[in-house]
Symmetry: C2
Subunit: 549 residues, 2 copies
Amino acid sequence: MKKSALQKARAAYQPKLPIVLTGAVKAVEGRPTESVADQEAIHALFPNTYGLPELRFEKNATPAQGKPVNVGVILSGGQAPGGHNVISGLFDGIKKIHRDSRLFGFLMGPGGLVDHKYIELTAPIIDEYRNTGGFDIIGSGRTKLEKKEQFDKGLEILRELGINALVIIGGDDSNTNAAVLAEYYKAINAGVQVIGCPKTIDGDLKNDLIETSFGFDTATKVYSEVIGNIQRDCNSAKKYWHFIKLMGRSASHIALECALQTQPNICLISEEIEAKNMSLKDIVKYIADIVTARAADGNNFGTVLVPEGLIEFIPEFKKLIAELNELLGSHKDEVAAMNHEQLTQFILDNLNAENLAALKSLPESVARQLMLDRDPHGNVQVSLIETEKLLSQMVAAELAQSEAFKAAKGKFSSLHHFFGYEGRCADPSNFDADYCYSLGFNAAALINAGVTGYMSSIRNLVKPAVQWIAGGIPITMMMNIERRNAEDKPVIQKALVRLDGAPFQKFASKRDEWARTTSYIYPGPIQYFGPAEVCDQPSMTLKYEHQNK
Amino acid sequence: MKKSALQKARAAYQPKLPIVLTGAVKAVEGRPTESVADQEAIHALFPNTYGLPELRFEKNATPAQGKPVNVGVILSGGQAPGGHNVISGLFDGIKKIHRDSRLFGFLMGPGGLVDHKYIELTAPIIDEYRNTGGFDIIGSGRTKLEKKEQFDKGLEILRELGINALVIIGGDDSNTNAAVLAEYYKAINAGVQVIGCPKTIDGDLKNDLIETSFGFDTATKVYSEVIGNIQRDCNSAKKYWHFIKLMGRSASHIALECALQTQPNICLISEEIEAKNMSLKDIVKYIADIVTARAADGNNFGTVLVPEGLIEFIPEFKKLIAELNELLGSHKDEVAAMNHEQLTQFILDNLNAENLAALKSLPESVARQLMLDRDPHGNVQVSLIETEKLLSQMVAAELAQSEAFKAAKGKFSSLHHFFGYEGRCADPSNFDADYCYSLGFNAAALINAGVTGYMSSIRNLVKPAVQWIAGGIPITMMMNIERRNAEDKPVIQKALVRLDGAPFQKFASKRDEWARTTSYIYPGPIQYFGPAEVCDQPSMTLKYEHQNK
């Protein structure tokens, strides 16, 4: 690998750890836990790993000599900045327990465990990847670990390699699977612990004890850099409305964080749109009114942030998508045999009248995407729907009919952007570099403590890293029962944007001002070597959520 | 303006100057100049400003006391990182000549001169914008200064404000207009000097004495940052081909520079495609063959850089576009009165058979864009043509027919990106911050030297800034006669990518290796505070072009 100048300079960075993890630790048990909902059902599904206590690491004055551990690690799902630091932290952590400990990386995601594809991660390999973005050290994949046969097949290679513990780095789905795997290995006394690490740029895997998932900080900073650049262009040329869609499968945390960092004229928050029961027409009118007000001030330019998952939160489309998912999920085999024309007809014949009307209100290309393009899990592929263009076209049509816009002598030209892949593999910010390294190092401590079905938890993140709190929380604690592909399943509850939360409240208190005035902020690129106020700030979301704690 | 933490920290940066400009200077005349072509015709059009000598500033041991000057400044055309530093350099330069000198900024481009819209740029305003991206200090615009009435109208306000010199910061078109304006004001003895500054992210305004236009360095670094991030994602997920279109109206300098920085699997260079007389089908085959070869290695992923101006360089489409431009340019009034249907019919009725066939070979949406969407200068709007999608669709179709791809068990999924607005207003890199400040400071020295029709020239740019050479070159020297909108016009010759130049040669010697292997480089974001090898490197294009000088 030929390294860039920045990579070479950055390799020397020593990530910061919570002070407790720099010495010997003991795990202190907190109160037993309950799942966030559906306690009985979750308990029944996880008889061996339900109700475990929270854990917190404290200094251990009389540590026992550690024994060598063999650990496996898996990167699961979409990339997020910092994955390599989780692995290097884990490596350093198990080496600290005993120098003969070994780390094995399963290749291209959970599939590597099932297919017995792996490499041993030795010091020279690890050193190549410290503080770098990407998941390319072992690759990632989206194979779901759900079935007993997969678990048994995986156990073969774990036994062959003498692996005592498996660390799964993933989002809500992957950690759900980690919990199921932990329960299974515990139930059969396999002697393999399973530990999860909270990864996702989407920021929707969080709760009181998991303050943020890793990657969110870096990805939103990269998006905010380019949004800021676009805003500066917008404010220089003063002739375009830029519609900027931002990745984030479901929740609007990314859009909200970017809005707080860059102060655009408009930012849509899916969770609010759902709560206010806004129709697509309402959203278009909301945007068109701001465009008109700005035109009246002579400002025929602006920026609109659009969360990727928007369409699923507009109630009329949410209902439509729910019926589509249910319809297709419950006719899997017939659907698989249909061509596009047959599938279209099947859908049109079976949708209820209200949902059919919603479908028909969309431009044909969007309707077609909703009906025909689905991901391997059977979900609508919202990322393929060009919501940003859909909105600007509908706004243009609305403005063409508007007397007020005509009276304002308004002009409306739009440009479109979608940012996602640009940020998922960026070199981690100092925050993510430190947080990820700590998560991995802490996972080693959880392994040493002998627990399973836990997620690595590093808290108190708005404080300097030395003051961070390290521990573990039972994954089952985050679970509830949800309907997925026409089945009830135990899953980790997604953390959506809370409309009563401080980040949204801050945004809501400012957005009317940002809409009318031009109050853009230009954050610029992530810096690694400058003053702390430039290089070492956590996300605004994290700051606002935890500022009073 | 609420400033980001980086902006605040960056405000303190003191741009570096060539050592000669830090003291008093005298202008030393070099040899008289000739235009690059069409010498007689250019001489006839510029009787007062043709053939002037090159100028080079040297230390002046016996400087005269300078007199206050009033200077006007205009930002013209598309944004480029560093424009604010040209203005702050100019401000500091004229203040150094005399503390009572004043600077006026005309608003929203050349139109501000004609419409008498301006502000005085005072020290507090200048200080707000030092080392920042964007042109928002006074805005920019694309009004062309071409007509006598505009020049006369402009002269009114210049006289009213007592302005002795006008600095036009722009690309090739804007500097062409600067030369015409300089000639006119000289011819009528208006007493107003006109000085140009070489701006464009496209990198196509350069020659022996203008080594690079400003903004190219920063913009390509921003694009390379996000391309690198995408490549790391690509190499982690190993399942997509990313087609990445890069801004650059005509020349492929941006794509070439980004390729040198990031080492993608494929980068198309328009100039080579034209030189080799490649058809669209040839290009598609070239890409499909590499996709197939990688598939045979088990690598169903990769990256393709596509220069924005590609379509105009494919000979079959170049001919088509030339005929379209000529046809529509020579029937301006009739065309203006036509609706879309009539215009389409008019074009279909009048194109020659070969060009009609080329038009019909395109997907309908692309053909429609070629026919109907044109910029205010009457040119095809290549930036609207989604070449990246056109290519990936045609590659997919080619692969679907390919036995070799089938034999390799290849898979082909593509994702698309277009980067342009993301980089034009980025905070300038240290290089652009220094270069721009020097260009502006040097423009003040040219004003003090009493010359007109010159472009500010800072050379020796691969060396440390203290060793840079400062001077001026007559704009007419860069001109030739070209056909534009069905008229012969004197214009600055665009500097296209030279296939015998060192940057392309370097790329060409490596690309087969980069195509087959995965040799991505991940440059990461622009850094301002770190080690010199990270923060202070000029572009690879500049390095390779001048490494042996």
